[in-house]
């Protein structure tokens, strides 16, 4: 299971911006755009999810995941992918 904290930590590292991480659950449904995470941050985050947790989010999918909750849902319900 990928936790919100784990995801926020990676996002903070990849973006250099700690603010969202400090807000925890409040940001679950905020759009990445609004949180200041651009497409590069999300691509880097998706690479790190793969390297650290072996979570594979295809590039065509990550593009459409717009909130932390969407990423968690995708990462944690692998069966639904098929």
């Amino acid at each position: 299971m990928l936790s919100l904290d784990q995801l926020l930590e990676i996002l903070a590292e990849c973006s250099g911006d700690q603010q969202a991480a400090a807000h925890g659950e409040e940001v679950l449904d905020r759009e990445f755009d609004m949180l200041g995470y651009d497409s590069l941050v999300l691509l880097e985050t998706s690479a790190q999810l793969k390297h650290r947790y072996d979570i594979d989010i295809p590039e065509d999918v990550i593009r459409d995941l717009r909130t932390p909750r969407a990423v968690l849902d995708y990462a944690n319900v692998p069966a639904e992918r098929d």
Partner: protein, 423 residues
């Protein structure tokens, strides 16, 4: 008194051919040269298609020492420079005063291939952070600093005037030519050998574009992999290439009776201050660059006969520049051909802008618009005339070429048919 800048020689080295006429024949036939990468084994990489040149340095006249000293980008630049200089009749040994001859070389990533090759040896394939100096090539410093590319070009043509590399990422080619034009206008040189070179088909460059998903994944069909303005496009194919042009003051060209391809009448470069890799959909800064270049050419937007697009084959780019063309040229944008030769020779980063300027000069010479290859299903959001698949005959008096690059660089250049005698 204002000076007119004319093109009196040019040479292109691009994937799929070994000289200018081969290149021109290929792209006007709408043929793509993109193939599975051969420079290294691409199996582990996301994008495995590339535009590569089958370069035979010995056949190009290089000695073994030069081949060792020069990175591939240098070999390409020097080959083009020698050929362009010979065509223009300014090769070493002619009467041209060397101090009045300058060089301006566009380049985005330096001697990337040689630097990486050296790194692999000195670091023992990445094992050692403290690289081992004892394994270094005697030419490592040349690979380290991109100025060596301008130096080699200057040596090749005997230039002792202003010499530099212009390195504005993927607009470098246009910017190097713009720089050269301005040096001539200011009287700092009479003749400039200017253009660009890049040889980035090397693992680190391929991997970095893989990371941002900017390159094509159509690995099973490389020839049709790069599809600017097509609904099914999925990125560019990385490529190598070079082009060098001989630019001179029209009076100087006239005095020595040089043949003239055309004239460069306008140039502008803008930053978008938006994002290092992203483009705002509004295309405002490219619009502005086009407007300034046309102003400098004292040209009305409706007088443009052809637009050579950046057309890298990413959706972001296609929408961005389509918007810019509409804003800068108004309804006229719908009436003229717009095409991308990257569909055939890929994206050679800093070099491509110069290849595209050369393309414009050849298009003016032959009254032919090269097509956009692989454009079968136009993106409904890209609703201009992108000259799909087949070249068109069309008299071209004034053409526009644009470039767009990481870092937010947006450049535009206007070329025209030379009507000798204009004051």
């Amino acid at each position: 008194m204002s000076r007119h800048i004319v093109i009196t020689g040019l040479s292109v080295l691009a994937p799929g051919s070994t000289d200018t006429e081969g290149f021109w024949k290929m792209i006007t036939a709408g043929r793509s040269a993109i193939r599975r990468t051969t420079a290294f084994d691409p199996t582990a990489f996301r994008s495995q298609a590339a535009g590569e040149i089958d370069l035979d340095p010995l056949a190009c006249g290089f000695g073994h020492r030069e081949i060792r000293r020069l990175d591939r980008a240098g070999l390409l630049a020097v080959t083009c420079a020698r050929r362009a200089a010979a065509e223009a009749g300014i090769a070493a040994g002619t009467e041209l005063d060397p101090t009045r001859l300058g060089v301006s070389v566009g380049n985005a990533v330096g001697s990337a291939t040689s630097i990486e090759n050296e790194y692999v040896v000195l670091s023992d394939e990445g094992r050692e952070w403290l690289v081992d100096q004892s394994y270094q090539s005697p030419h490592l410093f040349d690979y380290f600093v991109p100025g060596s590319l301008a130096r080699e070009t200057a040596w090749a043509v005997g230039a002792e005037g202003p010499v530099s590399v212009v390195s504005a990422g993927c607009t470098s080619g246009i910017d190097a030519l713009g720089h050269a034009c301005q040096l001539i206008q200011e009287g700092r040189a009479e003749v400039m050998v200017a253009g660009a070179t890049d040889a980035p088909v090397t693992p680190i460059a391929v991997a970095c574009f893989d990371a941002i998903k900017a390159t094509t994944r159509r690995n099973d069909d490389p020839e049709h992999a790069t599809r600017p303005f097509d609904r099914t496009r999925d990125g560019f194919a990385i490529a190598e290439g070079a082009a060098m042009l001989v630019l001179e003051d029209s009076e100087h060209a006239r005095r020595r009776g040089a043949e003239i391809y055309g004239t460069i009448t306008g140039y502008a470069a803008q930053s978008n201050a938006y994002h290092m890799t992203g483009l705002a959909r509004d295309g405002n800064e490219m619009t502005r660059a086009i407007g300034l270049a046309l102003d400098e050419a004292r040209a009305d937007p409706t007088s443009v006969d052809y637009v050579n697009a950046h057309g890298s084959g990413t959706k972001q780019n296609d929408l961005h520049e389509t918007e810019a063309f509409k804003k800068a040229l108004g309804d006229h944008a719908y009436d003229i051909p717009v095409s991308s030769i990257k569909s055939m020779i890929g994206h050679s980063l800093g070099a491509i802008g110069a290849i595209e300027v050369a393309t414009c000069a050849l298009a003016i010479r032959d009254s032919v618009v090269p097509p956009t290859a692989n454009l079968h299903e136009p993106d409904p959001e890209c609703d201009l005339d992108y000259v799909p698949l087949e070249a068109r005959e069309r008299a071209l008096d004034r053409v526009l070429t644009v470039g767009s690059g990481f870092g937010g660089f947006q450049s535009a250049m206007v070329l025209e048919k030379w009507r000798g005698g204009r004051g």
